[in-house]
Amino acid sequence: MNGIRTFATAGRVLRQLSHDPRSIALMLVAPSMLVGLFAWLFSDQDGVFDTFGGPILALFPFVVMFLITSITTLRERRSGTLERLMTTPLGKADFIVGYALAFGLMAMLQAVITVAFAVLVCRLDVEGPLWQLGLVAVVDALLGTALGLLASAFARTEFQAVQFMPVLVFPQIILGGLFMPRDRMPDVLHAISDWLPLSHAIDAVAAVSAGDEGWDVARPLLIVTAFAVGSLVLASLTLRRRTP
């Protein structure tokens, strides 16, 4: 890995984004709007938003970052620029980490804005410290970024990349514990949900919201981080200098 080339790549991705205000708006504002909509939906039912608000906070940044990352990376793979990059000294890890850094920074901004909106405007009740909720949101968004990078390797077109949503993302949402606590699921589904990163992301948010401390928060957070790092490693392994 080479720092100069990694940061040059991250800077280039951010510069591309800066020419695309609509995508920035989508990334930074859309999750807050969805959280707001959710809060409004349950505004007449006491305590519902406090129960579901947290997990929702884990969900939207994950989905938005997954979509944006997978399509942006796919564009690079298809446009011929990746082929050209592969003839330069840029390493595969430089490329992947450069992307992860750029979108990770956006994910961080997004998490700060969304958590602030949920707590200050929507009055989400959080027992644990706010910074922990922010941290969980950032890690979740990073997971979305990492999975998006990986998914882009298996899609040939933007259309296929979007198709990964129902295959990779929706099952994780359904089995993540949002609709039904995971320990009340049929055994097989519970076992499957243990292997889905989003389940642990939602666990982490739930733990912070409930005011749990120590290992109860750290454990799911570490699992999500491991999934994110694993996806990044896999994504860089899918890059090929030589193609047919």
């Binding site: 100069i4 080339r5 040059a8 790549t9 800077g11 280039r12 510069r15 591309q16 020419h19 695309d20 446009s79 011929g80 620029t81 082929e83 050209r84 990059l85 592969m86 003839t87 330069t88 000294p89 840029l90 200098r241 030589r242 193609t243 047919p244």
Partner: protein, 245 residues
């Protein structure tokens, strides 16, 4: 840098190259040698294997057999990535970045000096457009940005896939002057084209057809050999001779 080549030294040696794309063979044992410090033109109809050969030389083509050696090392090796520059046929630059932002990024990747960005912008005649996004340029201008990337740093081998497509004759002549100046400093250039009149500007010609080398010659020898006055007719004459014999 400009190290004058010793005579007879080869920049690229291709031996028994075998490549399949999409199940059909492109090359079944191709042998090619490209001399150092010269402009070698790669000519032939669309689909004859020009791009595949260029991709093999820069080391991004998956090959099924044989060897491609560049400056004595296996093509695509780590130490070659700074010495070899490649411009793909479709402009491979970022449409949502400006001309200058594109060049700055690639300059940092290959560790080119800062002043290089301005030098190459000047060389491809894009100074007025330097602050514009590539997406707002015309197709010909976009190709020139992509070409400029290949001229960053001090590559010893520059591989250009149809760099002058869609350019007006004045600009084409200017770019050939740049290519000629690069070759004069000892840089090896491999330039593909399907425009036969560009053949006359090269030092050496490789004429390809259906994955085979039809001729390895010079412009003067090609014309003298076939008795034709324009390269298009000469190419046809060669092919007819090949199918007859």
């Amino acid at each position: 840098m400009g190290i004058r080549p010793r005579s007879g030294e080869e920049a690229v040696v291709v031996r028994d190259l075998r490549v399949r794309r999409g199940g059909t063979p492109v090359f079944e044992g191709l042998d090619v040698a490209i001399p150092r410090g010269r402009i070698t033109g790669l000519l032939g109809p669309s689909g004859c294997g020009k791009t595949t050969l260029m991709r093999a030389i820069v080391g991004v083509q998956k090959i099924d057999g044989g060897s491609v050696t560049v400056f004595g090392e296996p093509a695509g090796g780590v130490s070659l990535r700074r010495r070899v520059a490649y411009d793909t046929q479709a402009a491979s630059v970022y449409g949502d970045l400006t001309v200058r932002q594109n060049l700055s990024y690639f300059a940092r990747l290959i560790g080119a000096p800062r002043g290089d960005v301005d030098r190459v912008i000047e060389q491809v005649g894009l100074r007025p457009q330097a602050g514009q996004t590539v997406a707002s340029l015309s197709g010909g201008q976009e190709n020139r940005v992509s070409l400029a990337v290949a001229m960053l740093g001090s590559p010893e081998l520059i591989v250009l896939d149809e760099p002058t497509v869609g350019l007006d004759p004045v600009l084409r002549a200017e770019l050939w002057a740049v290519f000629r100046a690069l070759a004069a400093t000892g840089v090896t250039l491999v330039i593909s084209s399907h425009v036969m009149d560009e053949a006359l500007r090269c030092d050496r010609l490789l004429l390809m057809r259906a994955g085979r080398l039809v001729a390895d010659t010079t412009p003067a020898a090609l014309l003298a050999d076939t008795g034709e006055s324009d390269p298009d007719a000469a190419f046809l004459a060669l092919i007819e001779r090949g199918t007859a014999g």
